[in-house]
């Protein structure tokens, strides 16, 4: 009832939502200095990709979308695990989680 004038856009609403969510995640990655918040917003971006896949599956009948969502969920979880393992190492070595400290490779 909200998008009556753009009735064609009615079932594209989750796609816009997914785009919005994706860019919120992107700002989180770009703007925050704390390593953990960056990992969290990365999870947010991957969740938005899932939502996008599902909405296009429903709109255009994209048969194998659930399988892609399945794989994205698994890889996102595994990646979060490894990212956090590295974050723990960074915290142990540099005593801070701020990515400013990780500039030792710069000469």
């Amino acid at each position: 009832m909200l998008l009556e004038p753009f009735s064609a856009l009615q079932n594209f609403f989750p796609v816009f939502l997914a785009a919005g969510l994706f860019f919120i995640g992107m700002t989180g990655v770009l703007m925050r200095k704390n390593l953990l918040i960056i990992l969290m917003s990365l999870e947010l971006m991957l969740g938005a990709v899932n939502l996008n896949f599902l909405s296009f599956a429903k709109i255009y009948g994209f048969e194998s979308a659930p399988v892609y969502i399945f794989f994205i969920i698994c890889i996102a979880a595994a990646e979060a695990g490894v990212g956090l393992a590295l974050a723990v190492r960074v915290y142990k070595k540099f005593k801070t989680v701020d990515i400013e400290a990780l500039n030792f490779l710069k000469e």
């Binding site: 695990g81 490894v82 956090l84």
Partner: protein, 163 residues
């Protein structure tokens, strides 16, 4: 009634997504992200994909979030000062979002969606039939990936014992 719920969930999702980024204490960010993952599972549910919603709930809200909260407790972070890395990132976001929504609306008006869609491919059994017939190779690769990560994480977290 369902669409009304749909709008509530998406509004809640955007709100918690903002909170995960703009909160001072990372632990509160983790809890906000957990809430947004639960709302995302609710959205999947509303889009008639209950099996995927259940998976999302188990993996994201159940496992990933507990990991984040555990790690944040390990670090015992004080409320860090509200530190932003770069101010210009905001402009990028708004610009790209505008561009993206333009493209989507272009696509929406150009190609009409399918008429009477049958969403049978969202149930558990159909996913399995497609997963194990067409995407068998990727399935094996993910099995190997998980094994490598399991071993890597253990080795990674044991390095300090030798030091």
């Amino acid at each position: 009634m369902e669409t009304f719920l749909f709008y509530i969930f998406s509004a809640g999702l955007l709100l918690t997504a903002f909170n995960t980024i703009f909160c001072r204490n990372p632990a509160k960010g983790a809890l906000n992200l957990a809430l947004s993952m639960i709302l995302l599972a609710g959205l999947f549910f509303l889009m008639s994909a209950p099996f995927l919603a259940g998976l999302q709930l188990i993996i994201y809200a159940g496992a990933v979030m507990v990991l984040f909260v555990m790690v944040l407790m390990l670090f015992n972070l004080k409320n860090e000062l509200f530190v932003f890395f770069k101010k210009r990132a905001w402009i990028w976001t708004v610009f790209l979002f505008g561009l993206c929504s333009g493209l989507i609306s272009l696509m929406a008006f150009s190609s009409p969606p399918r008429e009477n869609p049958s969403y049978s491919f969202l149930e558990g059994k159909q996913i399995a039939l497609k997963l194990f017939t067409e995407y068998l190779l990727i399935f094996e690769m993910i099995g190997l990936l998980l094994l490598v990560i399991a071993i890597g994480v253990v080795v990674l977290s044991r390095l300090d014992k030798e030091e």
